[in-house]
Symmetry: C2
Subunit: 262 residues, 2 copies
């Protein structure tokens, strides 16, 4: 099942996506809901960020080649994480499918994509076990953890390098029927495929993170956990189009502009 | 003016506090509101966390003596911040006035308070200037940035050391009429005063942070910025009572229990 959040009469509305048809619901996938009688054409609706998370979690360094690549870029030694320490991103930076990534005028040319699996939490939970962890997941979406690499070297908290407005595209929707081990992430810049990797080949997997996190914290419906990216990443520049596809979930596409060149 | 968020008929409701009287409103201080005809007794209402922030910002190391004290505790060299790099905390950890800080069973005895000024954002804003920054502030509250110091040494992101459930008391309310330069923060453990410091003697002040942050990010109504704490901090243990008072705002009081000893 595929859950989108769409704009209808100026308000956000949840909707079920079936092929090219979008069926708005009353309620939300995080509580009670029922279908309305409406049927909309997918191409004609405005997709919103599929959920505004109460807390926006991110795994950060979670694929071995990426850890090595980033360490090299920012001039540090690669440091593979020894435990599933979760980090944070910020809601101000979220944009939806099709919305524009804006590179600030004072950013360098080192503004790069990171294609990531997004885990969307479906229910309040704590102390999850390896056996029941995935039952807390409503579904999965796609994220692009846009990063300014020169700022990442000096930001104490990555507030600017990772959380500048528009740096967190998420969407296009939430897919509930997913086999993690079957997923493949593909990233395309201006139509050219740059990398493809098995989405689930993480240092710490979804279950590892959910079990670890919920030893100390309560997860809430709508919380999201971005799971990290693999491999090298490349620069995005004005007028580019970046796509992150995860097989079986969908393709997140965003144009890129540089502030001042629009 | 003093804004509380209270529980009424099981739902959160904003209310104006005038002395010992609480007047519920329709609406919220972040949008349109009007007083209801009700008058409640402050002692009889359940105070909630005064706002659930869309994004929960925290300055971290922002007072010189505290930077030195923490560095010593976690075995690192003191490193005074050179710019106002904002960090993050997480909503799962928020508790209200009077609610209980729960030290997890597997925590050490190094669980410590940090009394902090909380800035509550009142309107959507970006690119604030030194002249207009404070006009974006609705008011101020009090926070206790509870921290497990041994976990803080090894957590890559402070997710556990700072964001364990119940580790972020905030309240009792939001005060809109505040002169920053007049504020004094006092911390009491079981009634004994441990420290008093001029709240505004920060390395980077409220205006510095708001101007810096909004170069890159949009602030939203209800966002909070915790401004850091001063000096040494001490351990809290089972059955303690910790109070953070900021003159002119209020006193945030929370009991402490250790999990398993309740």
């Amino acid at each position: 099942m595929r859950w989108a959040r769409i704009e209808q009469n100026g308000s956000p509305t949840y909707a079920v996506v079936e092929g090219d048809t979008v069926i708005p619901v009353r309620g939300s996938p995080f509580a009670a809901w029922e279908r309305t009688g409406q049927k909309l054409n997918l191409a004609a609706v405005k997709l919103l960020v599929p959920v505004i998370p109460p807390t926006f979690y991110a795994a950060g360094m979670n694929y071995p080649d990426h850890v090595r690549e980033v360490a090299e870029k920012i001039g540090q030694k690669p440091n593979l994480p020894e435990q599933a320490d979760i980090g944070y991103r910020a809601n101000n930076a979220l944009i939806a499918q099709g919305e524009t990534i804006v590179i600030p005028a004072d950013a360098t040319d080192q503004v790069q994509y990171e294609g990531e699996l997004v885990v969307v939490i479906g229910r309040k939970c704590k102390n999850l076990t390896r056996e029941n962890a995935l039952s807390a997941v409503l579904g999965y979406s796609v994220g692009n953890d846009v990063s300014e690499r020169t700022w990442q070297k000096t930001d104490r908290t990555m507030w600017r390098s990772k959380n500048t407005d528009t740096f967190k595209p998420m969407g296009p929707w939430i897919e509930t029927d997913v086999k993690l081990e079957d997923l493949v992430t593909k990233i395309r810049l201006n139509g050219e495929q740059l990398i493809a990797f098995p989405t689930n080949d993480m240092i710490f997997g979804v279950v590892d993170y959910l079990v670890s996190m919920t030893t100390c914290l309560t997860l809430y419906p709508g919380d999201v956990v971005w799971m990290g990216t693999e491999g090298a990443t490349a620069n995005m520049k004005h007028d580019d189009r970046i796509e992150v596809e995860i097989s079986g979930i969908g393709t997140l596409t965003n144009p890129v502009v540089r502030e001042g060149l629009r």
